[in-house]
């Protein structure tokens, strides 16, 4: 039986120790751990534990958009094949098997996306990206390994300056890159070829929720007629449908610690980019137009 | 008898050859003596030639089937001969009862009717269209007598032509009574200076193209006119010059509608005329006018061109890829100047049918050692991604900021706008006009539809060569189109680099005429 603090520490442990693990994977592994430890001994109890585990992981100081969607999908996936007639042990094994399957699939999805997206990077192109996204990083590395010559512009992306980490990672792999301030997006837009960003969540409308500043970048790209590509795994698909920026749930926008206080003066962490500004989404389900996302979402969740 | 149409014939002051003058005299004699048939002997080819349709100097609709090989002197005589013959034969009986004058009128009518029938019969027989040279004079006096019969047969075609082979949207632009103006039907008016006649022919055949070129040609013809002008007795220099000018300009307008540059230049010239000091001698007036014309050309065209070139050259940097469309003398000058200044850039020349003016531009650019590429306008989206700037010339700038230019310019500007490339329109201020237009229909020019159909590059000929046989098929050849101001980033004039919306400011600043 895992206590709440154990869950939390397990989760944070994974994230601290391993560098290249995304938040979704860490959350899923935590949930797997909960299943492994058993707990109350009933299936219902296990499901309850999972739910609570999800809440706990969402309450840490990591952006909860990715966690929410991936955990939700995971939970639905593993509980779908449970039969009431099986014993608890059997159920647990089934859940663990499917869980592992899910995890493997998740790990493989990045490779699929790499293959699809690197076709679009050609020699001599100039790419703009926002903040730090592992998928985008891997794609760019893949393209560099294919001996393509290209240039990358990364935004600093306040307030946590994660863009700088991206810049350093790119430099390690000998990719030509430049760090620009967030305010310089409009200036640089006319000279680049396309924009490539990751996503924390993909919503029902076909839009994305991503680090604050993505919406501005999408607006600017649309005004200058540049393609805006989103690279994301299918675990990030969520059943949300925000109507505008204000309609995003608070738990997406603000860290849990701040949520208790006065939110009107807080800086949000993420913003919503409507589908009309997105050209294509590269996912492990294939290259999708924003209108195809809803179709895929329904298929995923039903 | 020799062909009147040959260039060697002498033409007198009133535009008639000796023979014609004689014939004229004969006719006046005949009108008093109907029964004299001796004139018949003077004619060598009676009834063998179709009565020519005397055309007045207003370019009335001429039925091609009624044109004859140019034996006009004999034809002219033939008309009179026929009339006189008919009157002789048919009305000899009546001559006793009715007076000569009235006989002639009745007889004339009958003769005219007979002449019409004759003409129609001959019309079916004859095939070739007359090539009327500049030197072939048309007798205006003749035309008055024989005009009534000639009007009857052309009517047949008039009834057919208005709706046939005309695009309804541009109905107002088709010239009345004409479908296509061609050099073949060029008419000569003896009252017009040969320089203007020549200019009219050049406009008609489209050998002078481009608004600067046309304006300069007109001004040079004007200078010749001033030089040769002799004030008629008892008339004032300026007034008579103005009236002569008016007839000449009307003639030019019938050849081809005026360009905005020409209209503006003409208006300025008329202003000069009013400003001239009346105390000067004629000679002094002439030289003063000529000087002012030269000054106008120098200021408004030459120096303006240099100023614009300097401005634009500041915007051209090394490694630029500049896109241009068609032919513009100003753009050519700008690019040559930039090349001389040592800038390294490349030019992409886009071209549009059917004029294909871009080829001439290409030739001149290559001679100036500029690296060029050449494409047709359908490939504009293919190249636009690489382009850094678009330079366009203009025929005129309208008061609402819209740019009137060669057909195809609006499209290039549209695509450049969608690719977010800067579009610069270069235009001298003398081409600015107070007219406003929002689309390309209200005011435009329709050119020869056959040019659309002729294909010069491929081995096979066009499928449309027989378009005239099919009533449902019409090729359309527009000369101009209008570019909305939101497609244009900046207009470069000799005064300043302006946004398109500031055109009325310039119009306000120009001297009031």
């Amino acid at each position: 039986m895992l206590s709440e603090s154990d869950v939390e520490s397990y989760f944070l442990n994974i994230l601290n120790k391993e560098n290249d693990v995304s938040v979704s994977v860490a959350a899923i592994r935590t949930l797997m751990e909960i299943i492994k430890r058993g707990g109350s001994g009933t299936v219902q109890g296990l499901v309850e534990d999972l739910k609570r585990g999800m809440e706990i992981t969402k309450n840490t100081n990591y952006p909860s958009a990715a966690i929410t969607s991936s955990c939700e999908l995971f939970r639905r996936f593993i509980t779908l094949s449970i039969n009431d007639s099986n014993t608890f042990a059997q159920c647990q094994n089934v859940m663990l098997d499917r869980g592992n399957l899910f995890l493997n699939k998740l790990n493989a999805s990045r490779d699929k996306i790499k293959k699809l997206a690197s076709q679009f990077i050609i020699d001599g192109c100039r790419i703009l990206t926002h903040s730090r996204s592992r998928v985008v990083l891997h794609t760019l590395i893949e393209a560099a390994q294919q001996n393509k010559y290209f240039e990358v512009f990364v935004t600093m992306s306040a307030p946590d300056d994660s863009g700088e980490r991206m810049y350093n990672d790119l430099r390690e792999h000998k990719i030509q890159c430049t760090l620009i301030t967030d305010a310089a997006i409009g200036y640089i837009m006319e000279s680049i070829d396309f924009v490539m960003v990751g996503a924390e969540a993909v919503v029902e409308s076909g839009g994305i929720v991503n680090k604050i500043g993505s919406y501005t970048m999408a607006l600017s790209a649309k005004a200058m007629n540049k393609p805006f590509y989103v690279l994301t795994e299918s675990v990030k698909f969520s059943r949300l449908f925000p109507l505008n920026q204000g309609d995003l749930p608070d738990e997406y926008k603000y860290l849990s610690v701040k949520r208790s206080g006065d939110l009107s003066k807080e800086h949000p962490l993420v913003d919503y980019t409507p589908p009309s500004y997105i050209t294509l989404l590269f996912t492990d389900l294939g290259i999708l137009t924003p209108s195809a996302v809803s179709d895929e979402l329904i298929r995923l969740y039903l | 008898m020799d062909d009147k149409g040959k260039k060697g014939k002498k033409v007198g002051a009133d535009g008639l050859t000796k023979k014609e003058r004689r014939a004229l005299k004969v006719e006046t004699e005949k009108s008093t003596e109907i029964n004299k048939s001796s004139t018949i002997e003077k004619l060598s080819h009676p009834k063998k030639h179709v009565i020519p349709p005397p055309v007045s100097d207003n370019n009335k609709r001429v039925d091609p089937e009624q044109r004859t090989p140019a034996k006009s002197s004999s034809n002219v005589d033939t008309v009179k001969a026929v009339i006189s013959q008919n009157t002789n034969r048919k009305d000899a009986e009546k001559s006793e009862k009715i007076s000569a004058a009235s006989e002639l009128s009745k007889a004339e009518l009958k003769a005219q009717r007979r002449a019409v029938q004759e003409a129609q019969r001959q019309a079916k027989a004859s095939q070739k269209v007359v090539t009327n040279d500049n030197q072939t004079p048309k007798n205006n006096i003749r035309s008055n007598a024989a005009e009534p019969p000639k009007r009857i047969s052309p009517k047949k075609d008039l009834e057919k032509s208005p709706t046939k082979h005309r695009v309804q949207l541009f109905h107002h632009l088709y010239i009345e009574d004409f479908q296509v103006q061609s050099l073949k039907k060029y008419t000569i008016n003896k009252d017009i200076h040969p320089a203007f006649l020549q200019l009219g022919a050049q406009y008609l055949s489209r050998s002078i193209l481009g608004s600067n070129a046309r304006c300069l040609a007109m001004l040079s013809a004007l200078k010749t006119l001033i030089d040769d002008f002799q004030t008629p007795p008892k008339q004032e220099f300026c007034r008579s010059l103005e009236s002569t000018l008016k007839t000449s300009m009307n003639h030019l307008k019938t050849c081809r509608p005026f360009a905005v540059s020409m209209t503006n230049a003409l208006r300025r010239f008329k202003f000069f005329l009013t400003q001239i000091d009346t105390n000067l001698t004629d000679g002094a007036k002439q030289s003063s006018l000529q000087k002012r014309i030269d000054k106008y050309i120098e200021e408004e065209i030459v120096i303006a061109g240099q100023a614009i070139s300097n401005e634009v050259n500041k915007k051209i940097s090394d490694n630029d890829i500049i896109l241009i469309y068609g032919y513009s003398s100003l753009i050519l000058q700008i690019l040559i100047d930039a090349e001389k200044a040592g800038k390294k850039f490349r030019v992409i020349v886009l071209d549009g049918r059917p004029l294909l003016e871009g080829r001439e531009m290409l030739r001149r650019l290559v001679c100036a050692n500029i690296e060029c590429s050449y494409l047709l306008i359908n490939a504009v989206s293919f190249v636009m991604g690489r382009v850094t700037k678009v330079l366009l010339g203009a025929h005129a700038l309208l008061a609402n900021g819209y740019v009137m230019s060669r057909t195809g310019t609006a499209q290039v500007a549209l695509v450049a706008n969608s690719f977010k490339k800067p579009v610069l329109v270069c235009c001298e201020t003398y081409k600015f006009c107070e007219r406003v237009q929002t689309d390309s229909f209200v005011y435009n020019e329709i050119a020869d539809p056959d040019k659309v159909v002729t294909v010069d590059v491929s081995e096979k000929s066009s499928y449309l060569l027989n378009w005239r046989n099919n009533n449902y098929l019409t090729p359309l050849n527009l000369m101009y189109d209008v570019t909305p101001s939101d497609f244009v980033t900046a207009v470069v004039t000799e005064i300043a680099v302006l946004p398109c919306t500031s055109v009325p400011v310039i119009l306000r600043m120009r001297p009031v005429e």
């Binding site: 999908l73 996936f77 499917r98 899910f102 493997n104 699939k105 679009f120 050609i122 192109c125 299918s234 389900l285 294939g286 290259i287 137009t289 209108s291 195809a292 179709d295 298929r299 995923l300 039903l302 | 695009v167 949207l169 049918r353 059917p354 290409l362 030739r363 290559v366 060029c372 590429s373 050449y374 494409l375 047709l376 306008i377 359908n378 490939a379 504009v380 989206s381 293919f382 190249v383 057909t407 195809g408 499209q411 549209l414 695509v415 390309s440 229909f441 659309v452 159909v453 294909v455 590059v457 491929s458 499928y463 449309l464 449902y472 019409t474 090729p475 359309l476 050849n477 189109d481 209008v482």
Partner: protein, 346 residues
């Protein structure tokens, strides 16, 4: 040599296309269908997998030889889907049959789906299916034309570019009962617009021919733009004749709807990867643009004659296929119905 024998049918098809013996995409479609039919009835194969391998090899061969010609490849892909469906229904394999949440997990398991079991009735059911498909192909143009009256009303001015036999049929069908005018853009340098105009005029449709440069000038009075296309891309964009993009931009400027008549075999799962259009476009002979008579000018100048144009999906209003009209945003769905996802990357 063995290879040559193996692919001789595809090689013949490729050479026919190259030598312009097959002009229309319709002709190519019919020939491809015949080729596959022959392969199924006479070829050496036992199981569905063998057959699919044979077809896949032909697809690769064809795509390598003529990368821009998508019609044949699309038809072969569709036939692959027919084979898969027949096989599945033959074995009633997917009892649970959901492509659902299992999607995430299931695709890893069923990635290499086993098609190697021998199904005796496969051949006959395939041939039946193909016969149906052939009828569908042949009647496709007529079906599209039959929708003409829904889209064209009286006294309209319709603009079209170059020559498309589908558009011609469409307009002729509408002309039987409605009176309208057509403006044909001549589409230099191939001048197919001239042929289209003369064909339309023979059917007593009021036609005006304009050169490419006059499109923007005419566009404000046009009511609709109806065009054909060479290929429809996966994002709903078009690979169409050169010059269509500028027509589409002009129509967008005046908010005029653009209708694209496209047969199903023109839908391709391809995406436009780069704005440079390297693998997307081909250039034809520059002599059509600048004739050899220009003399010494020729070696000092670069002349280009691109054949295709990319039209982005936001410029297209409607796709009309034999099944009816669709928005460009729905193309992804049509694609998933036409082709199996595993075949999309061949």
């Amino acid at each position: 040599m063995l290879e040559m024998e193996l692919y001789s049918d595809v090689i013949k098809l490729i050479s026919d296309i190259r030598h312009s013996k097959l002009h229309n995409s319709y002709d190519i479609a019919i020939h491809t269908e015949k080729l596959i039919e022959k392969l199924i009835s006479e070829g050496k194969w036992n199981s569905a997998e063998d057959l699919m391998t044979l077809i896949k090899l032909r697809i690769t061969r064809f795509a390598n030889a003529l990368p821009q010609e998508a019609t044949s490849v699309n038809i072969m892909r569709h036939i692959l889907k027919i084979i898969r469906d027949e096989y599945d229904s033959g074995f009633k394999n997917k009892g649970e049959g959901q492509q659902s949440a299992h999607h995430l997990g299931s695709t890893t398991m069923d990635d290499c789906e086993d098609y190697s079991k021998v199904l005796p009735s496969l051949k006959s059911s395939l041939l039946d299916n193909l016969a149906e498909y052939k009828v569908e192909l042949e009647s496709s143009a007529d079906n599209i034309a039959a929708q003409a009256l829904e889209h064209i009303h009286a006294n309209e001015i319709i603009l079209t570019v170059g020559k498309s036999s589908t558009v011609e049929k469409f307009l002729k069908y509408a002309a039987k009962s409605r009176k309208f005018q057509v403006v044909v853009v001549e589409a230099a340098p191939r001048f197919l617009g001239h042929l289209m105009a003369s064909n339309l005029a023979k059917n007593n449709i009021e036609t005006t021919v304009i050169p490419d440069s006059a499109v923007f000038a005419m566009m404000s009075r046009v009511n609709k733009v109806i065009i054909g296309t060479h290929t429809v891309l996966a994002n709903g964009g078009l690979r169409a004749e050169s010059g269509v993009h500028m027509v589409a931009l002009a129509a967008k400027h005046y908010s005029i709807p653009i209708m694209v008549l496209a047969h199903m075999y023109k839908l391709s799962p391809m995406h436009l990867c780069s704005s440079e259009q390297d693998a997307f476009n081909i250039c034809a002979s520059p002599a059509d643009v600048l004739p050899y008579s220009s003399g010494p000018l020729l070696d000092k100048v670069h002349v280009y004659n691109p054949v295709f144009d990319y039209v982005p999906p936001e410029l297209v209003t409607l796709f009309i296929s034999h099944q009816g009209g669709n928005a460009p945003s729905y193309v992804y769905r049509l694609l998933s119905e036409l082709y199996h996802p595993d075949d999309q990357e061949l």
